[in-house]
């Protein structure tokens, strides 16, 4: 889960990392006031969670208060990856002598924490690392290992920092590592770490992602208003509706509605539809052990989607039980009916009960099962996927 730049900077600054004089503003007028108070050229940075802010025009400069107001107004009318700009971080402009990069992240492959520095900051660091690996240096640490100051300082010396500043920049790295550890971060980055013309080092941009799953032990973040949040761009109406129901859902541009069980199969099922010549209309995940209500909601999303011509359903009952699955489908069919053909495969835990629920419901309301084909373990899932493609093509 990503933090806003200004939030990351607040955390960095608390642990002693120097950041520019700054203020969060929510109106062009406030931007003007900050610039006036500061009396210096300012930078205006749209606060959004998505990447590519620079390319999207989300960063502007202003030499005087009036210009600051103007530029702020421009930013507030901007949308970046679908998100309207609602906050701008105003900072005093820093005179740049040199730009470095410092970051900490997790190396999942080797189960290490990694501290990374690069002699070139302010740019796409992964490009630099790919083209000129000699410009990048790393230290790996175990999860419960200390970062000694001398280790941080040796990175700093390697970066070419001289004299008294070795200790200061070493402290910046130590602090950054401390922030990383204190908040269960997945990533903290200062890019660029600026050497000013005055010879000081200052964190000009800050990036930080924390582990959503560890938020429960960071009350201090929720006290700062940092709660679980969404990073995706502008959502479709349907995606918003799905989010309201807490269903992971993404619209795609095909015509087969995917009603899968299990995240793994959700991904693989999408490939299968492609292999057999079809195109899915969506991604969806039921989550572990969905209730009948949630399953019914999932079907509502597909049924209401005019793009969807046929529905491909699969349930292999594990932690999700087939009886609940059948109940959810029947609940939906009884309340809404289904306007599109659907082919389903259901097996796994409690499959007998699932079959019984379907049979009972069909006996009571045969008309609602008109468009529906239900298979069991005897039919390979590939056949079901093929059939879904066939059904969609027929429509």
């Amino acid at each position: 889960m990503r933090l806003y730049e200004y939030e990351a900077k607040k955390l960095f600054s608390r642990d002693g990392i120097p950041v520019p004089q700054a203020e969060i503003v929510k109106s062009p007028e406030d931007a003007r006031n900050f610039a006036k108070k500061s009396g210096k050229p300012v930078v205006l940075k749209a606060q959004v969670l998505s990447g590519g802010r620079g390319k999207a025009g989300g960063i502007k400069f202003a030499l005087n208060p009036e210009e600051a107001k103007e530029k702020a107004a421009e930013l507030f009318s901007l949308k970046i990856k679908g998100f309207p700009v609602e906050m701008i971080l105003l900072e005093e402009k820093v005179d740049v002598e040199k730009e470095l990069y410092v970051g900490v992240t997790i190396d999942r492959l080797n189960y290490k924490l990694v501290i990374i520095v690069c002699t070139e900051g302010g740019m796409e660091i992964e490009e630099v690392a790919r083209k000129s690996p000699e410009k990048v240096k790393k230290i790996n640490l175990d999860i419960d290992e200390k970062l000694y100051q001398f280790q941080a300082q040796s990175l700093v010396k390697w970066l070419g920092v001289k004299g008294e500043q070795i200790r200061n920049v070493g402290n910046i790295i130590s602090s950054l590592f401390k922030v990383f550890k204190s908040y269960d971060a997945k990533l903290v980055e200062i890019n660029p770490l600026i050497l000013t013309r005055k010879g000081e080092y200052i964190a000009c941009d800050a990036r930080m992602s924390v582990d959503d799953d560890a938020l429960f032990r960071h009350k201090e973040l929720s006290e700062m208003g940092i709660e679980k949040r969404h990073e995706e761009g502008e959502m479709t109406q349907r995606e918003k509706k799905a989010r309201g129901w807490e269903i992971p859902y993404v619209d795609l541009d095909g015509d087969i509605g995917m009603f899968p069980g299990g995240a793994g199969f959700g991904i693989m099922g999408n490939d299968f539809i492609h292999y057999f010549g079809g195109k899915p209309a969506n991604f969806m995940d039921s989550g572990g052990g969905p209730t009948p209500e949630r399953l019914a909601q999932m079907l509502i999303l597909l049924d209401e989607n005019p793009q969807v011509k046929a529905i491909f359903g699969a349930r292999f009952g594990g932690i999700s039980r087939c009886d609940d699955f059948a109940k959810g489908v029947v609940m939906f069919l009884k309340e809404h009916g289904l306007s599109k053909p659907m082919v389903l495969r259901m097996t796994g835990n409690m499959w007998q009960e699932g079959v019984r629920i379907f049979q009972q419901a069909e006996k009571e309301n045969p008309e609602i099962f008109r468009n529906i084909e239900i298979h069991g373990i005897e039919t390979p899932i590939e056949e079901i996927a093929k059939r879904a493609v066939e059904l969609a093509k027929k429509m």
Binding site: G103, D211, G264, I267, T347, E382
Partner: protein, 288 residues
């Protein structure tokens, strides 16, 4: 023969008095899994389906020579429970819950390596040695004893692979779910190597999926194995996922895409299956 669990495994359930713990204890017992004890701090002395409950893992090991554990607890308690098991001498732990904090998983991994234990999960459907022991939440119906080992990050894909192997008469030696969380207790390598050394396993099916780096890491192990590995990777048609910032890209490079995974697995010498139905075809061609 099997890997990691068989009908000699003495299993405990950590969190046996909770809803999921209770439900799956019953299911696992019905399958024949030898559940010798369960834990629930403060509830020592109770019984769940005749299984004695203790406050600590230490007591389970002392009184029942337990060697294997399965955890059904809220994510935030998993690290403690898992390390408790490892410190008490348990050598194999199955972590069912999802959303374990990454730092916790790294701590678990470290303690496991240090104490020569193996942890699978978090967010795994578990492990099954068909006909002997079902340790987790996997549906019995998909599995039958046989000669192919499977390893996958996804529960549902494990079921579909086993389903296919069962339907086509190959059956499975052991099916291992590594788990779906971003940082896992055990990676493909370690499981592949156990299958390589298992007499009854004639071939291994590895199912990967987009995201993470563990499939790429398996390349070298596969190239050192004598047994054939059949690999399948989901997500070729999935939109590109998110990356962990610049630093993540430096550390993980191009890893994480289905293409990168397929390429690595193929370079390691794995036979690539596109659909589940390809698996028995390939096995047949290999003469298995």
């Amino acid at each position: 023969m099997a890997i990691l669990v068989d009908n000699n495994s003495k299993v405990i359930v950590q969190g046996i008095t909770g809803g999921a713990g209770r439900f799956h204890t019953e299911r696992m017992l019905q399958y024949g899994t030898k559940i010798v004890a369960g834990t629930s701090p403060g509830k020592g002395g109770e019984k769940v389906f005749d299984v004695p409950v203790y406050d600590t893992v230490e007591e389970c090991v002392k009184n029942h020579q337990a060697d294997t554990s399965i955890i059904f607890l809220p994510a935030r308690f998993v690290m403690e429970a898992c390390v408790e098991a490892i410190y008490a001498g348990i050598k194999f732990v199955v972590v069912i819950p999802e959303h374990i904090p990454i730092f916790d998983m790294m701590q678990i991994r470290k303690e496991a390596l240090k104490h020569n234990a193996l942890v699978i999960g978090g967010n795994t459907a578990g492990i099954i040695t068909p006909g002997e022991v079902n340790l987790g939440i996997m549906p019995d119906i998909a599995f039958s004893p046989g000669r192919v080992g499977t390893v996958s990050r996804s529960g549902s894909l494990t079921y579909y692979v086993a389903d296919t192997l069962t339907r086509t008469g190959y059956g499975e030696t052991t099916c291992v779910g590594l788990g779906g969380d971003p940082v896992l207790g055990t990676t493909f390598d370690e499981i592949l190597w156990l299958f390589e050394k298992d007499e009854k396993t004639k071939a291994v099916v590895l199912v990967g999926e987009i995201g993470g780096v563990y499939e790429e890491k398996a390349k070298d192990t596969i190239s050192k194995m004598k047994k054939p590995v059949i690999a399948m990777v989901g997500g070729l048609y999935a939109p590109q996922g998110k990356r962990m910032g610049h630093a993540g890209a430096i550390v993980e490079g191009e890893m994480g895409t289905a293409q990168s995974k397929l390429k690595a697995l193929e370079q390691g010498g794995a036979h690539i299956a596109k659909t589940f139905l390809d698996i028995p075809e390939i096995l047949k061609k290999l003469g298995i």
